[in-house]
């Protein structure tokens, strides 16, 4: 592959920081309580907001009785649809970086679209007073009884999926229908993923303050620039008058990519009261008002010949969306790229339900789609009496069949074989229930993992200071992935300045515009901008050094290099800090913007991996446990293998949740049954299997000069399928609806 011969455009030839396992530079802050998350912010004269939400799923808010609440101690005001400011909706445009989580504004009218929808915000002098008064707000509703919250109930079980077709999502190549009809081996099955919630540990929070006509919002956000832009549009003020700050985020997984209504109502309350307002979304409303992975129903049809060669793939998807805002999860977006097959057709449909707006949740779409496709392949392997790994090898796509382009870098075969070897796949007995250990029956399963390797536009600033430290700034965020640290590693690598001397600033919309922390594109996007900004600053330094009377007067600037924090030319060198001090300059900095180039049209960029799972099923007590998970992933170069491996391990844990536990349930009245951290089951430490992750190290220099593709999502894909496939191997039961709960195992 041609990419192997390309060299990184680094100044120095050897890697001393990039690719090294470095402890996080923000670690001490996080470990001592010093890191400032949004709700940690307390401002002088601050007040507290507490929301009141709808207790019906559909209808109209007829009256709000507020007298008792208003008379409660410390209450300052109550905001609702009759007294709320008239605002404009955000254009909700991703390309213009003003997309929001829920398009409908809070208190826009008195229509009720879902249980939990905000109907009022109580503001008081203390948290306790605001909460106590919120409990005294009484609402009268005109209830409609035709609410819908369960799209699976609409499914006839055969033929087309329910919902409205989304023509723009459909794509095809060849003639999938004919190829399927004529295939000797056919599979036609339906799969579903339950409504999942991000369940971030840090509840969404806004602290809003107006100073004159300037709005500052401290927010738990994966996208300060997006939120800044959206608030400016909603309030009809210039972007320069809005600042959004998010230094630390108690995880997001997509639920904090785009702004939710609490930020708008908090900002309005702060303006009306002339005092800062802090609102933390209560945990039970986190599940209803800050997005979720929508329930998806999928139909997969596979046609193959007797050797296992795929002749036809149909993948139809359907996900729920909301009257308050549209979300299309596009569960089959990756399917056309995954395997070599001449005849492929995908379609998507949407069903509007009485719930809040769904949003991206870690590996959005693809995680759901991979479950269906990779489970279907396992079923096909059973029909063929073929090893599931061999079936995948048989259909390896050596270029992207969807875009008809070569891969920038693809080591999927090595991922499959590396993980299989480490796992001990060759010890698998394909007969269900054949592997036993005491009370337990053992099952093995595997799946392919994948995520698109995107890169976006980004700006950054890079500065050299006269005390020898560096300043690197970008309006992106570190949501726990390690962005602070890898930016410092990159700056250290390029300059030779020790990592301890590098001051990284993120999470502030007033910094040069950076990307969302999502989609696994932050690393590939931010580092090139940091590099370009460094070169701008370096050019300034060279000009300074070669100026009349300078240390390199009359030296050709092209001969000057940067090494160990010094400018070097031939046998001469000078410490950069010394150069600045000599010139009485405190800071020399540069700013640059970068974006992907022509390579977008010449290559397909996608990361691949493989995951193998061992489950243990104790039929005597209906207990299913995951015992081992082994994953090998190719993400190009891992800038920091310590944090990157942690990302994959964490994704695997979330994949276990998808496969085994996670499901928000609504009853027939549209009531959310389990919107709490006790009732929405996520994995705990005692659930942990032995997890072994290996990252291959093949830098993808077509993606960027550092060879990095990003790592946040891929580890989650395929995990639920591998679990489900292992469960089949253990039990002979094919569970096609996630999660694999005890009752499903008992019923099938």
């Amino acid at each position: 592959m041609t990419t192997e011969t390309q060299k990184p455009q680094r100044v120095d030839g050897t890697l001393t920081s990039i690719g090294q396992k470095k402890p996080r530079i923000d670690g001490t802050l996080k470990l001592t309580g010093g890191a400032d998350y949004a709700a940690d912010r307390n401002l002088p004269n601050q007040t507290w907001g507490y929301p009141v939400s709808s207790t019906i799923a559909k209808g109209r808010l007829v009256a709000l009785e507020l007298d008792e609440a208003l008379a409660m101690p410390g209450v300052l005001d109550i905001f609702h649809h009759d007294n709320f400011d008239k605002l404009s909706r955000s254009p909700n445009d991703f390309a213009a970086a003003n997309k929001v989580g829920e398009l409908r504004l809070p208190f826009e009218d008195n229509e009720i679209y879902y249980h939990g929808q905000y109907i009022a915000l109580v503001v008081a002098d203390t948290f306790e007073h605001a909460r106590a008064a919120a409990r005294k707000v009484r609402a009268q509703y005109e209830k409609s009884d035709d609410q819908l919250t369960d799209i699976l109930a609409l499914d006839s079980g055969q033929g087309d999926l329910p919902g409205e077709d989304v023509p723009g999502d459909a794509s095809s190549r060849g003639d999938a229908d004919s190829a399927f009809e004529s295939a000797s081996i056919q599979l036609d099955q339906r799969y579903s993923i339950a409504h999942e919630n991000h369940s971030v540990m840090e509840m969404h929070a806004s602290v809003a303050q107006w100073e004159n006509d300037m709005l500052t919002v401290y927010e738990s956000s994966q996208g300060v620039v997006f939120q800044r832009n959206a608030l400016a549009k909603i309030f009809g003020i210039p972007q320069e008058k809005v600042t959004v700050i998010s230094h630390f985020i108690g995880s997001g997984f997509g639920s904090k990519l785009f702004m939710w209504p609490h930020a708008v109502m908090t900002s309005v309350a702060a303006r009306r009261l002339g005092r800062p307002v802090k609102t933390v979304v209560p945990r039970e409303l986190e599940y209803l008002n800050t997005g979720y992975r929508p329930t998806s129903l999928q139909r997969v049809r596979l046609g193959a010949d007797d050797s296992g060669k795929l002749l036809s793939i149909h993948h139809d998807g359907c996900n729920e969306t909301s009257p308050a805002g549209l979300h299309d999860d596009s569960v089959n977006g990756a399917t056309p790229s995954m395997y070599a097959c001449d005849n492929v057709a995908v379609t998507n449909r949407l069903v509007t339900v009485n719930k809040g707006t769904p949003t991206s949740m870690r590996a959005p779409g693809e995680a759901s789609g991979a479950f269906a496709l990779e489970t279907a392949l396992d079923e096909l392997a059973v029909k063929l009496d073929m090893d599931p790994l061999a079936l995948r090898h048989k259909n390896f796509a050596d270029r992207d069949p969807a875009a008809d382009l070569p891969w920038s870098s693809n080591h999927l075969k090595e991922c499959w074989d590396n993980a299989a070897q480490r796992f001990g796949w060759n010890k698998r007995n394909p007969t269900p229930g054949a592997m036993k250990d005491g009370d337990e029956i053992i099952g093995y399963g595997m799946a392919t993992q994948s995520w698109e390797a995107m890169r976006q536009h980004c700006s950054a600033r890079f500065g050299f200071r006269d005390d020898g430290t560096l300043l690197v700034a970008c309006g992106t965020q570190d949501i726990g992935t390690g962005t602070y640290t890898i930016v410092a590693q990159t700056a250290s690598e390029m300059t030779g300045v020790p990592i301890e001397m590098i001051d990284v600033r993120l999470g502030d919309s007033s910094l040069p515009s950076g990307p969302l922390s999502g989609g696994s594109f932050a690393t590939a996007t931010v580092l090139p901008a940091v590099s370009a900004a460094m070169k701008e600053a370096l050019a300034e330094l060279k000009t300074l050094a070669t100026a009349e009377g300078g240390v390199f007067e009359n030296v050709d600037q092209d001969s000057i290099t940067l090494r160990d924090g010094r400018l070097v030319s031939g046998d001469n060198s000078i410490e950069i800090a010394e150069l600045l001090r000599q010139n009485r300059i405190g800071l020399v900095d540069g700013e640059a913007s970068t974006k992907p180039g022509d390579e977008q049209d010449q290559y397909s960029f996608r990361s691949f991996g493989a995951v193998f799972v061992e489950v243990r099923w104790d039929p005597g007590i209906s207990r299913l446990r995951v015992a081992r998970i082994c994953s090998t992933i190719d993400i190009g170069r891992a800038i920091n293998p310590l944090t990157a491996t942690n990302q994959v391990e964490g994704s695997i844990v979330m994949g276990m949740g998808m496969g085994l536990f996670e499901q928000i349930e609504y009853d027939a009245h549209g009531y959310p049954y389990n919107n709490s951290l006790a009732d929405y089951i996520v994995p705990v430490n005692a659930d942990m299997p032995q997890i072994e992750v290996e990252l291959l190290d093949y830098p993808d220099y077509l993606r960027n000069e550092f060879g990095a593709r990003g790592v946040g999502e891929i580890g989650l894909t395929g995990v639920a399928a591998a679990i489900s496939n292992a469960v089949y191997n253990a039990t002979g039961k094919r569970i096609r609806d996630m999660p694999i709960s005890i009752e499903k195992l008992l019923a099938s």
Partner: protein
């Protein structure tokens, strides 16, 4: 400059903006000599070795008193209902969920938060072995549940009434949910800290 996390790279500080640490609810802390306002009680909380006198209404929860009145933000609120463990503190050395403790009931006890963990164990300078181990093993991602994880771990190791095998420690740590899923590294860090603190390998 609101964006600074590291005023000097060599010695990171968290609160460059004084607004971060400044308690907003000045009404909560008392002026010496005056009586508590009607409906409030005057209490003394000993937190990290320092006594604080404050006037609170009886329904004020210890977690909120720590965060909103005393400005100790290291202890986190994840659910407010004893369902996640993020708010774990030590009361007389035992780990407890501060979201389910009334502030007025925590007088005459030693309250330790993450800000005082190292000091409480006699590490006046530097960090507690649990903190060191969490750094080295990357036993966190977003860092939000981390204070609670470490407070539970430190108490569990210190009390010594949980067996040191992986299964027992995983069980003992299961009241601290980490949605980032850093459980593997958390266990490694707890084992590493345990070895250091108990002298057992």
């Amino acid at each position: 400059m609101v964006s600074i996390q590291y005023s000097s790279p060599a010695s990171p500080v968290g609160h460059a903006d004084p607004g971060t640490a400044a308690p907003a609810r000045t009404a909560g802390q008392t002026a010496a000599g005056s009586a508590a306002a009607p409906g409030r009680q005057r209490i003394t909380l000993k937190v990290n070795g320092t006594e604080h006198t404050l006037d609170v209404e009886p329904n004020v929860i210890l977690l909120d008193a720590l965060r909103e009145i005393l400005g100790l933000h290291g202890t986190k609120k994840g659910c407010d209902h004893g369902q996640c463990g993020a708010c774990t503190v030590h009361i007389n050395g035992r780990s407890m969920n501060s979201c389910l403790l009334l502030a007025v009931m925590q007088q005459n006890v030693e309250i330790t938060t993450i800000e005082g963990l190292a000091q409480s164990a006699g590490f006046e300078q530097g960090q507690h072995p649990v903190q060191q181990a969490f750094l080295e093993h990357d036993a966190y991602q977003c860092g939000y549940c981390t204070a609670g994880q470490m407070m539970t771990a430190a108490a569990v190791i210190n009390e010594g009434n949980v067996e040191g095998d992986d299964v027992s420690l995983r069980e003992a740590m299961s009241g601290n949910i980490c949605r980032c899923g850093a459980y593997k590294n958390i266990l490694e860090a707890v084992q590493s800290a345990r070895a250091r603190m108990t002298g057992e390998g």
